[in-house]
């Protein structure tokens, strides 16, 4: 008989409980391993998702400097093609060196640097019969341009062969005329009326410069981010000016091997653009804050480009030039960081509770294991096992139960998700794996062979005081946070708030329950129901409620309520934002839309209602006390109200129909509706509106938003077009809102509308809704919230089952005795009911209230604007989901209280001690 065999027998004897412990650890370990990774992935995805929309020009880390400044990197005068290449190389190398000094994660996202150079435009002669009034050509060079274009006709330009030193050594005025081959974009050549072989003579300082068009090219990949920087290289720059006429600029590429010589000969300044393309897809390790900090580090100050001395003929030593980078990326990254932080806060909020309870339930199950084992341990100890050995064995058993199960969970999570991020990845699983060992070792070893007497004491007063004090602290912290103020990584006090508050409620329930049980018992003792008397007596003397089990119920229910409310709030917030920005199913903006077109749109298939909006800005709204700039929107009130028919009340749309009811009759004052920002009470006196001419107006109402037109943050003024006919006549409508017939295909209708009004920006509410809910972190968030409801429910249920299992032997003994005395089966069932139902109902009710309170308190402190747009959404109480939660809780309680009578809890062996 070895210790190992003894342990094995003991564990095999309790295989049910052992299997449960192993299962719980495996599942938990899987969850704690997977969740951080899923979250990290979602965060990283969110960064990529958001940054993918930013144009390369804004995104890429770019700098502009002068060619003169850069020549400091290679000071000798470039003459031969080799000299030219050497200077390009000096610039490129120093630029590349700067990139390699950047540390990850930014470096991973930075592509190889690009360097291009260009001069100002040279005015070229007007082409005969061309509409272009100001044709210009800029000279440009890029060493790698050949990789990005193909020749349409002609040949790439040859490098200029000109030696400034051979020109007689005098001043610039003695230089000979210069001839340079260039190539042009085919479209630019067309627009400028040029063809391959043309020679264009332009004026330069003291001599003529002849540009020979050696060929035209076409861009290989117009979507290449490169062309976002070099726009003129991919399309002619056309500026229509009503006074000056059309100006067109083309970019004439000279051979890069002659660029620096050419510049020297021309004596003209040139700009050099340098940039690192940012590859958003390559951003790893979703820490946007770090990325933003790195970007700021690069853009906040001048960066030195340094060339090592070897290159030029001139003296050795370091030569450097400083350039300043610019990028919008940091700002965009900050925005994503805010979004991610808000998501993480919510995830942490809903995860901490169930996780805490999961560990508590695990502890409960392990305790159950230990409790069942207690007599055997006492025997083994009394027969001469040394306490140290016993503890070692228990500890090893605990590890044996915990670690392999944790490893399996970890392994499954890792193989499913594929990533393995260092020690942080396995630490939570290890901690979980150690829990059984800790639980098995923490209580004193059983001594003596007599059963311990169970007392009525609920547990330490000190514990309760500590818990309530902590709850008070957390609560004051939560209340002191300004609404929506928490953005960063989350205040740990707020993160643990749900758990601590749940603990406080648990403690209160535990304190309150004996009183209620006693009160019930006092009443039932006088009554005639035997089960009522016995049940309540048991509830008083032998309450099944333990800290862990009540906590599990309280956290389970409160987390479910919190999640349900948060989900509804998020959904509604997103929905509201879509309504505020789109206002209707389709929002078409851009072209002028006249009455005839509007009628045509209305007659299209699938269109239920359509309205146009004309905007006058600025309009001055003056009251006796102040006058403010506002934006006046003119609508056909009836049509606009019709378009808004589907807008839900929670959006807070202005009561547009009120504009009409007032029908301009009273005293000729024009009825107006104003934004709350303008701070004008309805019916205020002496208000005038001026848009060129000034009219008396009357504020009919003030509403929050004009869906599709303006939100609550804007200083808008709404009037019916018919009330201001002069203004309406001189202001074309450029916005069209369309409400669709239910079931109509938005894209098809949009296409038809564009067919009527011409090219326009189209916003499809359905698509916007999809885009808003489809971001990675919002998906993570909704997933976590929904998952937490399920997890919390399972946990609460699991803990109830565990409590029932723990109470089974005692209950079975009692029932056995009572059966002998002739207790009926139905009475046995109602006795079992007494075990669980009273305190679970009490705990669940308290927890339901707690869930409602915490969701209101905590949602206030979370910055949800990242998901819902401009406004911090108010907590929403979804009646159906909340009712469903309540019913779910009830069903669980019922299920658990009839469970033991169905299972006919195993009757303990006759010898078992009382």
């Amino acid at each position: 008989m070895t210790w190992w065999r003894l342990s094995r027998r003991a564990l095999a004897d309790q295989r049910g409980a052992v299997a449960l412990v192993v299962l719980v650890i495996t599942v938990l370990s899987l969850a704690v391993t997977a969740l951080p990774r899923i979250e990290a992935t979602a965060r990283a995805d969110q960064v990529r998702h958001r940054l993918a929309d930013v144009s390369p020009q804004l995104r890429d880390l770019s700098a502009v400097t002068s060619a003169d400044a850069l020549s400091a990197l290679d000071p000798s005068l470039p003459v031969t093609p080799e000299d030219n290449r050497r200077r390009w190389a000096a610039i490129a190398e120093s630029f590349e060196a700067t990139r390699t000094e950047v540390s990850p994660p930014l470096r991973d996202a930075l592509g190889a640097g690009e360097v291009t150079a260009t001069t100002d435009g040279y005015a070229i002669p007007l082409g005969p019969g061309s509409d272009v009034r100001l044709p210009t050509l800029s000279l440009a060079a890029d060493q790698r341009i050949a990789e990005r274009v193909e020749m349409v006709d002609g040949a790439p330009p040859a490098p200029v062969s000109w030696d400034p030193a051979a020109g007689g050594g005098g001043g610039a005025e003695e230089l000979p005329d210069l001839e340079i081959e260039v190539m042009l974009l085919d479209a630019s050549a067309d627009r400028l009326g040029l063809a391959t072989g043309d020679r264009i003579t332009v004026g330069n300082l003291y001599h003529d410069l002849t540009l020979v068009l050696s060929g035209t090219y076409r861009v290989l990949d117009p979507d290449d981010g490169y062309w976002a920087h070099e726009t003129n290289g991919a399309q002619p720059r056309v500026v229509e000016d009503l006074n000056l006429g059309t100006a067109v600029n083309g970019r004439a590429y000279v051979a890069s091997d002659g660029w620096w010589s050419t510049l020297a000969a021309l004596g003209q300044p040139a700009q050099v653009s340098l940039w690192y393309p940012v590859d958003v897809a390559a951003i790893r390790g979703g820490d946007p804050a770090l990325l933003a900090a790195q970007l700021r580090g690069l853009t906040a100050q001048q960066v030195e480009l340094t060339a090592s001395g070897g290159g030029g003929g001139g003296g050795g030593g370091e030569r450097s030039v400083s350039i300043g980078f610019a990028s919008e990326l940091a700002v965009r990254v900050d925005a994503v960081a805010g979004e991610n932080a808000a998501a993480s806060n919510i995830v942490a909020l809903v995860v901490v509770g169930p996780l805490g309870v999961a560990v508590a339930v695990l502890a409960l199950l392990t305790q159950l294991l230990l409790e069942r084992r207690r007599p055997a341990l006492a025997i083994v100890r009394a027969r001469g096992a040394s306490p140290a050995r016993l503890r070692t064995v228990l500890g090893l058993e605990g590890l044996l139960l915990g670690l392999p199960a944790a490893a399996v969970g970890w392994g499954v999570a890792t193989s499913l998700l594929g990533t393995s991020p260092g020690w942080r990845g396995w630490l939570p699983a290890v901690v979980l794996g150690v829990v059984p060992a800790v639980v098995l070792l923490s209580p004193p070893l059983p001594t003596g062979l007599r059963g311990r007497r169970r007392d009525l004491a609920v547990g330490g007063l000190a514990r309760d005081v500590v818990v309530l004090a902590a709850a008070g602290l957390v609560l004051s912290q939560v209340l002191s946070v300004a609404p929506g103020a928490v953005a960063g990584t989350g205040d740990p006090l707020l993160v643990v708030a749900p758990l601590v508050l749940a603990l406080a409620v648990t403690v209160l329930v535990l304190r309150l329950y004996p009183w209620l049980a006693r009160a019930a018992h006092t009443v039932l003792r006088r009554g005639r129901s035997l089960t009522g008397f016995l049940g309540s007596a048991r509830a008083v003397r032998d309450p099944g409620a333990t800290l862990t089990s009540v906590l599990a119920v309280v956290v389970g229910v409160s987390v479910a309520v919190f999640s349900v409310v948060t989900l509804a709030t998020l959904r509604e917030g997103v929905e509201r934002t879509v309504w505020v920005t789109s206002g209707s199913d389709l929002r078409i903006s851009g072209p002028r839309i006249d009455a005839a077109q509007l009628e045509q749109v209305r007659s299209l298939d699938g269109v239920a209602a359509a309205a146009t909006v004309a905007t006058v800005s600025p309009a001055i709204l003056s009251s006796p006390s102040a006058s403010v700039r506002a934006t006046l929107h003119l609508v056909d009130g009836a049509a606009y109200a019709d378009v808004l028919a589907d807008v839900p009340p929670s959006v807070g749309a202005a009561p547009v129909a009120d504009l009409l009811g007032d029908g301009g009759g009273a005293g000729g004052a024009v009825p107006l509706m104003v934004s709350p920002r303008l701070d004008l009470a309805p019916g205020a006196d002496g208000v005038r509106l001026s848009t060129g001419e000034s009219v008396d107006v009357r504020v009919v109402a003030s509403g929050n938003v004009l869906p599709g037109v303006a939100d609550a943050g804007a200083t808008w003024v709404l009037a019916d077009a018919a009330a201001l006919p002069d203004v309406a006549a001189s202001t074309p409508a450029r916005l069209l809102l369309v409400r669709l017939v239910p079931g109509a295909d938005g894209d098809a209708v949009a296409e038809a509308v564009v067919g009527v009004v011409g090219p326009a920006g189209v916003e499809n509410a359905a698509a916007a809704r999809e885009a808003a809910t489809g971001t990675p972190v919002l998906r993570l968030l909704t997933g976590t919230l929904a998952g937490s409801v399920v997890a919390a429910a399972l946990l609460a249920l699991g803990s109830l089952v565990a409590v029932q299992a723990a109470a089974a032997p005692r209950r079975a003994r009692m029932l056995a005795t009572l059966r002998l005395l002739g207790l009926r089966r139905s009475a046995q069932r109602s006795l079992a009911w007494w075990d669980l139902t009273p305190w679970v109902v009490l705990g669940a009710t308290a927890a339901y209230g707690l869930g409602l309170v915490t969701s209101h308190l905590l949602l206030r402190t979370l910055d949800l604007r990242a998901f819902t747009g401009a406004d911090q959404p108010q907590p929403v109480l979804p009646p159906v989901a909340l009712a469903a939660t309540a019913v779910g809780v009830l069903l669980a309680v019922v299920a658990c209280s009839i469970l033991p009578t169905i299972r006919r809890a195993r009757t303990p062996t006759a010898q078992e001690d009382p």
């Binding site: 095999a12 006492a378 001469g384 040394s386 062996t909 010898q911």
Partner: protein, 301 residues
């Protein structure tokens, strides 16, 4: 280790507190047992018998007084000494089999367990230990040694428990109502087994019981009342000059170190002794008189 009685308790006190209430289970108990004795302890339920046995087995500590077994002071045992004590000096059998035997080990494995715990595993773990077989033989468990406790009869369970208790060859065997749940025949078997253990192995045996039957099997019966030893009954078999044997039964009251003793209840009732008595010291005995103010006196020797 000092000379003196094998088991010696002086003024043993054990107070339990439950719900703030104090229960005095032992209130200054005195007890001496010599090595090799077979002793029964009797007393009403709740008189503190089990409490005493738990203390003697090293599972519980007294609140006051002293308890020594084999020269070891049980009140000051270190954890390590306690382990050695339980491994080498004491073995015990309780009334309920579930407290004696591990349900998931066979009878043989149960017997082997204490040997394994003490690191005295002789043969294979399956109980191939010669001593284990010997014990199984001694307690007549041969045909049920490989069954689970649940498959054994009550008597077999208790005999197995005895085998477990003496597996490590202890010097003291404590048994708390070992026959409490058994029928008469099984009880006799178990008591015989104890006698055998006492006689053949020389183990000192202390049996706590309700069972008057037990008294027939032991040399000395100690009665406990209200947490104190009150009386002792000695039985010996005397052979008179004619070679005829007769059972001699002598009753004693127990006197503690400071001279306290309990008079049997029947005496108190018979003479209506109350509150105080008058004592007279004679040359070879003490007389106890009822305290009667009128002067009417009745003596008692």
């Amino acid at each position: 280790m000092t000379a003196g009685p094998f088991v010696q308790c002086e003024d043993l006190v054990r107070i339990f507190s439950v719900d703030g209430l104090e229960v005095q289970a032992l209130q200054g108990l005195n007890l001496r047992i010599d090595e090799g004795e077979l002793v029964a302890i009797v007393g009403a339920s709740g008189s503190g018998k089990s409490t005493l046995l738990t203390i003697l087995s090293g599972l519980d500590r007294p609140t006051g007084g002293s308890a020594r077994v084999a020269g070891l002071d049980l009140t000051t045992l270190t954890s390590r000494q306690r382990v050695t004590f339980q491994r080498e000096i004491v073995g015990f059998v309780w009334q309920q089999a579930s407290r004696n035997l591990l349900p998931y080990l066979t009878a043989r494995e149960n017997v082997a367990l204490p040997r394994a715990l003490a690191g005295r595993r002789g043969g294979r773990s399956n109980g191939g230990d010669a001593r284990v077989s010997e014990l199984i033989e001694l307690l007549d468990l041969g045909d049920c040694a490989d069954r689970w406790p649940a498959q054994l009869s009550g008597g077999q369970q208790q005999r197995t428990a005895i085998a477990v208790a003496i597996a490590n060859a202890p010097r003291l065997l404590l048994a708390d109502e070992p026959t409490g749940e058994l029928d008469e025949a099984a009880s006799v078997d178990v008591l015989r087994a104890m006698e055998a253990v006492n006689a053949e192995l020389g183990v000192t045996v202390v049996i706590v019981t309700h069972d008057p039957e037990v008294s027939e099997h032991v040399d000395r019966t100690i009665q406990i009342r209200d947490g104190r030893t009150s009386r002792e009954v000695l039985r010996r078999t005397e052979t008179d000059e004619h070679g005829a044997q007769r059972r001699v039964i002598e009753e004693f009251a127990v006197l503690d170190r400071v001279g306290r003793m309990q008079l049997p209840e029947s005496y108190l009732e018979a003479l209506d002794l109350r509150d105080r008595v008058r004592l007279d010291l004679e040359t070879d005995h003490v007389e106890v008189f009822r305290d009667v103010p009128q002067g009417k006196q009745e003596g008692e020797r």
